[in-house]
């Protein structure tokens, strides 16, 4: 160890054991390019437009690349599926790219094998099958959002007429499309124009988290909430499971799926009979009502909703499904399973997806797979399915390959790679081209599909112009309505998990540690249950339940959630993975055993009882009540009208401290609780931008999560209130004056800084922070594992053990904008600095900017009548302020 002055001081200060931890770094090389690539400037990030698909449709993204490393995903404002926002999955997808546990080599019978061997084996089989016009060849894919892949599969069918292509996507649109078949005789996809309706009734439709148009719909919802009597919309929600929409609803009714269907029937037949129904029906009629139906409902219910919307003249367009597959997925995979069990399948090619884990339980897909002589699985991970297939091929990540994808409304976008495949992966286009015996690079396939367009423009803009599907005119048929079945004593509602979806993100630490919006649970799932039902079963949160359905039994810890339907539990899918990877294995419990092909979203429980054992739930918020402290404020529209201020300002007039002098910018943030839907995009975007480490389940249980912006969730007045809480950047910051070394300091633009390299870790600042937004590295949380460290943002310090950290208002983004402006000798313009949380927010609930500029967005927000400061009475004078939520209850109805 070579001793330098710093170390000498260290040594003389602390024990040798300590100093050796900080001994002087070895010689550091500078490695220039050998051949300078064009258009790269070391130290200057570039952005490339692409598209990512998570829930059966594309979300446009702009991906930040630092000297060739994709490090961050932003939304693409030009893309209808994004409108500039990103989903939590979009943000986390970049971590998935760098996941060290992605499959890195082809495997035959689990053993590493050569790609050439695979291709020769495949060709052999194909030669045999082609003689029989493809009989015995089956291809299985999830929802295909890529037009190119669609046409490749069509070509395959033409070439081998006896071959069959199947679909299985755990997040399929079966009910919606089947409903359309009943109503119109063809599968159709509804596109909602929420902002054109002033009364929306959602029948268990999770349109803010699971619908293909989710980001677009959240933005529309936000626009519809501007608190003006003549324009503000109203949202009614019937939900069988906690959902974002339910939390935001003006009137929310919780009941099991079967009950919702009965309600719908009654509502359609005789709305006058019931007071609530009448009020809602009138409101819908008066205010261009719109009804949304969720995937959980039966096809006939969807058909009925199509009819009601038609009668209402609701603002909903019908388009062809972006994946024109003629059959319901459940049907398609059942056929495949049958064929496999019957031994009719000689060659099965599974292009992405993980049916070995998520296929309906009654099909016994795994066993069928064992009977297929040659099975091939293309996937990012060597997962449950790969383990059962003859061959596993590493797939390319969407940031590694050429492709294309359609948004929920049909708009196409080109998927362009930002980096060469890290592990020589194969793209879906490439493997299908192998089946076509016309090996072709993904680029060739995609380019071939889009000959006519302005390629450069499409890449630059991130969308292909005028590719949205036109609305179709379809004639309604009369639908025979069933007499709905009696609801079971206890029902289990299965939902996609807000973080891991169907399980594909199980190995993503960011998503695992992202608190689930309704429960704040991390690193697993639970059986959500209402307080009353819990009392009946004598369980509390953390008690493990045994749930029996016809033929299946699972054990899962209970989690009591106010406002959950009675006699029903909700369990998120996607957990209990066996081969997800070190991060995902064993997290949560697997609910797929309860999922049957004829009932994908709910199961009747024969018995539910507590086992006596307990399992700690790693929740980030342990207290859901506000104790009357009114942190998350809300007001009824009626009470707001004519008010200059909705909430009185409790800031004391005087302060012992002199006010800070400011001569230039004064940064500030305003968070609009009226549009925030609590989706957590801000939290994970911040994590990606600021190199925030994950800490793992045990540390979360210990209360040491690191998120710089957390979304608080309170249950108050029979409502769920969301409240994002970043650092307040107080004018009179309690953290600043208590630090013995002055690590938290106030800068000339009003930022409350935390200087990591000065911090010695007394934690005095956190003790004195009333908002508890400061985060501490109790242990060495940041690891620099290859290749994960390639994702790190080079403009943000990676914090070491023993250092306090917190929200910086994305200082690095301010600095970049400032330097660019200074070079041009001008002031920064409003909107030139966009924080990571602000950029990601689908609702546009966060605005950031310069208070010195009277006309800036943030200055306007601060003048809103809904503006209030958190804990204003403490006279901390926060730079971050809130706009309270406005609820718009129907005066005809009592439950507000």
């Amino acid at each position: 160890m070579k001793l330098s002055r710093r170390d000498f001081l260290k040594l003389s200060a602390a024990s040798a054991a300590l100093a050796s931890a900080g001994c002087s770094a070895p010689r550091e090389p500078i490695v220039p390019y050998a051949m300078q690539p064009e258009m790269t400037l070391p130290g200057v990030p570039r952005f490339y437009a692409s598209a990512a698909s998570f829930v059966g449709a594309a979300e446009g993204v702009l991906v930040e690349s630092n000297t060739g490393r994709p490090t961050k995903v932003e939304g693409n404002a030009a893309h209808p599926g994004s409108l500039g926002a990103t989903s939590v999955h979009g943000q986390a997808s970049v971590l998935q790219l760098w996941d060290p546990e992605r499959s890195q080599a082809p495997r035959r019978m689990r053993q590493p094998a050569a790609r050439e061997q695979f291709e020769s084996e495949l060709n052999e089989a194909l030669v045999r099958l082609e003689a029989r016009r493809g009989a015995g060849l089956r291809v299985l894919t999830p929802t295909v959002v890529s037009p190119t892949l669609q046409s490749q599969l069509v070509e395959l069918a033409a070439r081998l007429p006896e071959a069959r292509v199947h679909r299985w996507d755990p997040l399929n649109r079966d009910a919606t499309h089947e409903g359309a078949r009943l109503a119109f005789g063809r599968a159709l996809e509804p596109i909602y124009r929420l902002e054109d309706s002033r009364a929306v009734l959602s029948l268990d439709c999770r349109f803010m988290e699971d619908e293909p148009g989710r980001l677009n719909y959240i933005r529309q919802y936000a626009r519809s909430r501007s608190p003006k009597p003549q324009s503000m919309g109203r949202l009614y929600v019937l939900e069988s499971a906690p959902s974002l929409a339910g939390a935001m609803a003006d009137h929310c009714y919780a009941m099991p799926l079967a009950e919702i269907e009965r309600w719908l029937l009654a509502f359609a037949n005789a709305p006058a009979a019931d007071r609530t129904m009448r009020a809602i029906a009138d409101d819908l009629k008066k205010n261009r009502g719109l009804i949304l139906a969720g995937e959980g409902l039966s096809p006939w219910a969807h058909a009925l909703v199509y009819r009601l919307n038609h009668e209402l003249g609701a603002p909903v367009a019908l388009i062809d499904p972006i994946d024109p597959y003629p059959q319901p997925h459940a049907q398609s995979i059942s056929d495949l399973a049958q064929a496999m069990h019957a031994g009719e399948v000689e060659l099965l090619v599974i292009v992405e997806g993980n049916p070995g884990y998520d296929a309906p339980a009654d099909l016994d897909f795994a066993a069928g797979l064992a009977r297929v002589p040659l099975s091939v699985h293309l996937s990012l991970y060597d997962d449950e399915t790969s383990a059962r297939c003859t061959w596993h091929l590493p797939a390319t990540h969407y940031l590694e390959h050429w492709s294309d994808a359609r948004a929920f409304d049909g708009t196409a976008a080109i998927v362009q790679p930002l980096i060469a495949p890290l592990y020589g992966g194969v793209s879906p286009h490439e493997i299908v081209s192998l089946l076509l015996r016309r090996p072709q690079s993904g680029y060739e396939s995609v380019r071939g599909r889009w000959k006519a367009i302005d390629w450069e423009a499409a890449l630059r803009k991130g969308v292909v112009e005028n590719t949205a599907f036109p609305p179709v005119k379809a004639a309604l048929r009369t639908v025979a309505l069933p007499t709905p079945k009696e609801p079971a004593a206890w029902s289990v509602r299965l939902v996609p998990d807000s973080s891991v979806l169907d399980g594909r993100f199980a190995n993503n630490a960011w998503l695992q540690e992202l608190p689930r919006p309704d429960t704040k649970i991390t690193w697993g799932n639970a059986a959500l249950i209402s307080a009353d039902s819990a009392r009946q079963l004598e369980v509390e949160s953390g008690d493990v339940l045994e749930i029996n359905t016809h033929g299946a039994t699972i054990h899962v810890p209970a989690c009591v959630v106010p406002g959950h339907p009675e006699k029903s539990v909700t369990i998120a899918l996607g957990y209990g993975r066996a081969r997800a990877g070190r991060v995902g294995n064993g997290a949560g419990c697997d609910a797929y055993p309860l999922r049957l092909s004829d009932s994908l979203w709910s199961a009747d429980a024969t018995s539910i009882h507590k086992t006596g054992s307990r399992q700690a739930l790693a929740t980030t918020q342990n207290h859901a009540r506000m104790e009357g402290r009114g942190h998350a404020k809300h007001i009824a529209l009626a009470d707001l009208i004519g008010q200059a201020r909705a909430f009185e300002d409790e800031t004391p007039e005087h302060s012992l401290y002199p006010a800070w002098p400011y001569d230039s910018y004064r940064w500030a943030m305003s968070i609009n609780l009226n549009t925030c839907v609590g989706c957590n995009a801000c939290t994970i975007a911040c994590q990606a931008e600021n190199n925030i480490p994950t800490v793992g389940k045990d540390e979360v249980i210990a209360g040491r999560e690191m998120h710089w912006i957390r979304v608080d969730r309170y249950f108050e007045d029979r409502r769920t209130l969301f409240m994002p809480v970043p650092c307040m950047h107080c004018e009179n910051a309690p953290c600043e004056y208590v630090c013995p070394v002055g690590a938290p300091v106030h800068d000339s633009e009003g930022l409350n800084l935390q200087v990591y390299n000065r911090c010695v870790g007394t934690r005095f600042c956190s003790q004195n922070c009333p908002y508890k937004v400061r985060r501490f590295n109790f242990l060495q949380y940041s690891k620099d594992d290859e290749p994960l460290k390639a994702q790190k943002n080079p403009e943000v310090t990676v914090r070491m053990r023993g250092v306090m950290e917190k929200c910086t208002y994305c200082l690095q983004r301010i600095t970049r904008a400032r330097i660019e402006a200074d070079k041009e000798n001008r002031r920064m313009r409003d909107g030139e600095v966009v924080t990571a949380c602000q950029a990601a927010c689908p609702a546009g609930a966060i605005v950031f900017g310069d208070l010195a500029d009277e006309q800036s967005q943030v200055a306007l927000a601060k003048r809103s009548p809904l503006k209030y400061d958190l804990l204003a009475e403490l006279n901390t004078r926060p730079r971050t302020s809130y706009e309270g939520r406005v609820v718009n209850p129907n005066p005809e109805l009592d439950n507000g």
Binding site: S24, I30, V31, A34, M35, L41, E749, Y756, T797, D822
Partner: protein, 213 residues
């Protein structure tokens, strides 16, 4: 009876004083002779590249090799192909350039040794300093007189602050930023530059957030 004879006592007293002196001197010496933080001042390089020759004798502009100095935080280190623009013609078989030719042949980059190293938590941006009239020579010295590149600044925080607390004396007209030989202009010119270049307030320049994130 006596334990300590007067002589012993005297000896003890002297020894005590000597001990104190020894510790002080020793510590000071140790501190003086230890290398400063920031590593070696002039480490060996894979190729004995001479700035004196390229800049001083041949008069090549800094930006020819350090291409991103005006646009990026990072000044840029020339790619092998940049060196080869000349050295495919000149000194084509000079033994010292063997690593360069090797790199050009194999496409494997050269690995230079960093001379100006800042801690990970310090974010220095070349482009803004250059844009605001801080000449290369201010921090890097007369590289045109350096046969072997050498660090002339301590790069310690107090050194940075010295300039950030009083930038004017370190400024020169933008035209002369890359001119290593040009003398500093007079104070009046520099005061003028403070205005024309809109140099931020010293308060802003000495905010922690200016360099630390």
């Amino acid at each position: 009876m006596q334990v300590f004879s007067p002589v012993a006592v005297l000896f003890l007293k002297i020894a005590a004083l000597a001990g104190v002196a020894a510790i002080t001197v020793g510590a000071t010496a140790l501190y003086k002779f230890l290398p400063a933080p920031g590593g070696e001042v002039s480490p060996a390089q894979p190729i004995p590249f001479s700035h004196q020759h390229h800049v001083g004798d041949d008069g090549i502009d800094c930006r020819y090799c350090h291409y991103s100095v005006e646009k990026s935080s990072f000044a840029g280190i020339p790619a092998t192909q940049v060196c080869m623009t000349c050295h495919s013609q000149l000194f084509t078989d000079a033994p010292v350039l063997a690593p360069l030719r090797e790199s050009a042949r194999t496409g494997q980059p050269l690995r230079w040794t960093r001379v100006h190293k800042l801690p990970g938590f310090v974010f220095f941006d070349h482009s803004i300093h250059v844009a605001k009239g801080v000449g290369c020579v201010e921090c890097h010295g007369r590289v045109d007189k350096m046969p072997r590149i050498r660090r002339v600044a301590s790069l310690e925080m107090q050194w940075c602050l010295g300039c950030h607390r009083d930038p004017a004396p370190h400024l020169r007209p933008p035209a002369e930023v890359f001119d290593l030989a040009a003398p500093r202009p007079g104070r009046d010119v520099q005061d003028g530059l403070m205005k024309t270049l809109h140099i931020a307030s010293v308060r802003r320049l000495t905010d922690c957030s200016t360099c630390h994130r």
